[in-house]
């Protein structure tokens, strides 16, 4: 151990101890960034129109779903095409409870999460023996089964175009305007992001990552692989269902038609483009994919390209698919990696790199 009296001043951002390595925030610069970022996020509603606050809300819900999916698919390497199914399970659980028993908002959300967790456990048990590709297939089967089940329920038992949900009441505040929702969703998303970061640093998270990297080796090292797979599915599915319920209350309606395979693909695109395996990647990817169609519309507007509306959706799809392919081919670690490169170029300048053995988070 170095004696502080004699050692040169070591920048507080260098990971010289276990505590420092695992810390979320290293050094004064990072703390400053967190504070400034936090203030900016809190002040956002003052400077943007209602529509953009609404888009921010959609992004926040997407972030919650993407963070969960990234842990499942990115860290634990269990490719899941069932995102839409779990979102639907959460939405329908909350919606049906609200409609039948008029439960308060927090109970509906909790019930949605529990429902998602239970189905997640079932899927996990089903796919324990299977290799990566077959896990994806199992989740695909889940998607079809769940969406068909909900369409049946909606057509036969609900007898309507969907469930209508009233604006939720939190007790201390009613979530009426997009700005109310913004602060609420910001708090929830921040909690989930912090939770994800902490989970990944904890022994549970490290087990999940170990199982993802090489499950046989993990078993050999003593990691209870079966528990790990079941637990990761349970936790992430619960969070995704939770996000689905939030979205249902936000839009105000639940209908099975919104939960199609394209939604699952959009979330997978979020984590691929954002960066698999990193929470920052989930955030970047979620914001990118959510805002993409609106940004594209603006680009076309500004460039006076006057594209016929009936071609615009096709262009959205081409851009979307093209980005997935491009990121897979050229930048498999996604936007997060691009961000890291830019950041290290800025902090290391005028040096090209800092050291060969830097740990990458």
């Amino acid at each position: 151990m170095m004696s502080h009296a004699q050692s040169p001043r070591i920048p507080s951002s260098l990971p010289i101890s276990m505590g420092r390595t695992l810390a979320l925030c290293r050094g004064r610069a990072q703390w400053l960034a967190v504070v400034v970022g936090g203030v900016a996020l809190l002040a956002l509603p003052r400077f943007f129109s209602v529509f953009w606050i609404h888009l921010a809300n959609v992004c926040l819900i997407a972030i919650i779903g993407a963070v969960a999916l990234n842990i499942l698919t990115g860290n634990a390497r269990l490719v899941s095409l069932g995102q839409a199914a779990f979102l639907g399970i959460g939405a329908f659980a909350a919606g049906l409870l609200q409609r039948t028993y008029n439960v308060p908002f927090p109970i509906a959300l909790a019930a949605a999460a529990i429902a998602g967790g239970i189905v997640g456990v079932m899927v996990a048990l089903l796919s324990l023996r299977l290799r990566v590709l077959y896990v994806a297939v199992t989740t695909l089967v889940l998607h079809f089964a769940v969406t068909t089940f909900f369409s049946f329920v909606q057509a036969v038992f609900l007898d309507s175009s969907g469930i209508i949900l009233p604006l939720p009441n939190l007790g201390f505040m009613e979530l009426q305007t997009p700005t109310d929702w913004y602060y609420f969703l910001l708090a929830i998303a921040a909690l989930i992001v912090l939770g994800a970061l902490n989970l990944l640093r904890s022994f549970i998270g490290r087990r999940w990552i170990a199982v993802g990297e090489h499950d046989v080796a993990a078993e050999a090292l003593g990691v209870p692989v079966r528990w790990a797979k079941v637990s990761v599915f349970a936790v992430t599915s619960a969070v995704v269902a939770f996000a689905g319920a939030l979205s249902a209350y936000y839009v105000g309606t639940v209908s099975f038609e919104s939960y199609h395979l394209g939604l699952a693909i959009a979330y997978l695109a979020m984590i691929i483009i954002g960066g698999v395996g990193s929470v920052l990647g989930s955030i970047l990817g979620a914001v990118f994919i959510t805002l993409l169609p609106y940004v594209l519309d603006q680009i076309f507007l500004i460039a006076h390209l006057n594209v016929r509306a009936n071609v615009l959706a096709g262009l959205h799809q081409i851009a979307f698919g093209g980005l997935i392919v491009a990121f897979l081919l050229f930048e498999p670690r996604g936007l997060a990696e691009i961000w890291r490169r830019v950041r290290s170029a800025a902090t290391d300048w005028p040096f090209r790199y800092r050291s060969a053995s830097r740990s990458v988070r």
Partner: protein, 400 residues
């Protein structure tokens, strides 16, 4: 010091100029929003509705607008997605500042749009079909429909089937496995059974394109008449398969967003166009009347090269409703004032529809009139084959 004061004066001057120009740019206009699926696979159905609406508005503005105030339409594409539809409705209501939303696309988006519209106190009126939440006794606030609500359309088709067969025979209703389709067939069966027919329903998923086995199943149920409430694209496949399986009886289609020309083109040459009928609230494009002549004139003037369709008429009729409501509202017309106008409105549609469009506080759909059009092989057109039949907005459900 001098530099700072120079900077201050320049920025003050700029600011003032901007403020003045912004004030000057505030012109008098009725701002309304139009939401539709313009780019998805159903664009063939919605495109003409928007066109018809826009022809009317251009014509109206050309004549000076409503008491001198022009109408500005902001069109947005919802891409058949409920969440995007809600986002676009919010944008229209808040950023663009419209006082009403018109048009809308498939029923899956309706609830989301109605919710957003109601939260922003902006009335929304659907033209393409409609959901039962606009029917009495307690319609959703700020939600209206002037199109074909599946429940009512279903009941009308069932009654018509019974009348056509004089109370003897079997009606098979088919539709897609979606809430609207299921409802349409339930009500059709109820009405047909009340008229003395035997009934049956065959539902299929919306993504089916190959109808061989489904047609065989329908044949095994021995239908005398088939009522089809699926989308027009699937109806084409179904009709082909039915005729291929040997069905030679009449086929009655619900006109949910129907475009006649592609239908006729697709079914040519297979002998599938005989005994093909459509039931609709609107006149067919080959009908006569002053309003229809107006539509054709406007279409020609604004550059439409293909003939008009029922969907063009739907758009024009919706615009007529919009015109009457804004006229009654006056200028300026905020959303809730327009809503109270719509809740008590009655608009005469002339030859476009069989009767007036009328809303009341407890009924955001109103009594409707329907007519059957049959395909005439000589004229190659759909011509009227019945009078206008009245239908109430409270269809009686007789569940099996």
């Amino acid at each position: 010091m001098r530099q700072k004061s120079r900077l201050a004066t320049v920025s003050l001057a700029l600011g003032a100029a901007l403020a003045l120009s912004a004030a000057g740019a505030q012109e008098r206009a009725h701002k309304i929003g139009y939401l539709a699926d313009l780019s998805g696979p159903m664009q063939d159905n919605y495109g003409p509705i928007v066109e018809g609406f826009e022809f009317y508005v251009k014509d109206l503005n050309g004549r000076g607008g409503i008491n001198g105030v022009p109408v500005q339409v902001a069109v947005r594409d919802d891409q058949l997605d409920a969440t995007r539809a809600a986002s676009m409705a919010l944008e229209l209501a808040t950023s663009v500042g419209v006082n009403s939303i018109w048009g809308m696309s498939q029923t899956r988006t309706h609830l989301a749009v109605y919710q957003t519209a109601a939260r922003n106190r902006t009335p929304a009126t659907a033209m393409f079909s409609g959901i039962k939440e606009v029917l009495p006794p307690s319609p959703l606030p700020y939600a209206y429909s002037a199109g074909h609500v599946f429940e009512v359309a279903g009941e009308v088709s069932g009654k018509l089937a019974a009348t056509m067969l004089n109370g003897k025979g079997k009606m098979i209703c088919n539709s897609i496995e979606a809430p609207g389709g299921v409802a349409a067939c339930q009500f059709a069966e109820g009405a047909a059974a009340a008229g003395g027919l035997e009934t049956g329903t065959v539902l299929f998923p919306p993504t089916v394109t190959e109808f061989g086995a489904i047609a065989q199943r329908m044949m095994s149920m021995n239908p005398t008449i088939v009522v089809a409430h699926a989308g027009s694209g699937q109806n084409v496949g179904l009709i082909k398969a039915l005729r291929g399986a040997g069905f030679s009886g009449p086929i009655l289609m619900g006109s949910h967003g129907l475009n006649e020309a592609p239908l006729i083109n697709a079914l040519q040459g297979i002998g599938s166009l005989d005994k093909l009928q459509i039931v609709s609230r609107f006149a067919s494009p080959d009908s006569t009347g002053k309003e229809l002549a107006d539509i054709r004139a406007a279409a020609q003037q604004y550059g439409k090269k293909t003939p008009i369709a029922t969907t063009t008429i739907m758009g024009w009729a919706l615009a007529k409703l919009m015109d009457a409501s804004l006229r009654q509202c006056g200028y300026p017309c905020p959303g809730d004032k327009l809503n109270s106008v719509l809740e008590n409105i009655k608009v005469d549609m002339g030859s476009l529809m069989g009767g007036p469009v009328q809303f009341t506080p407890k009924d955001h759909y109103g009594t409707t009139w329907w007519r059957v059009f049959q395909y005439d092989a000589k004229e190659k057109k759909f011509l009227p084959a019945s009078e206008w039949l009245e239908a109430s907005s409270t269809p009686t459900l007789r569940k099996q």
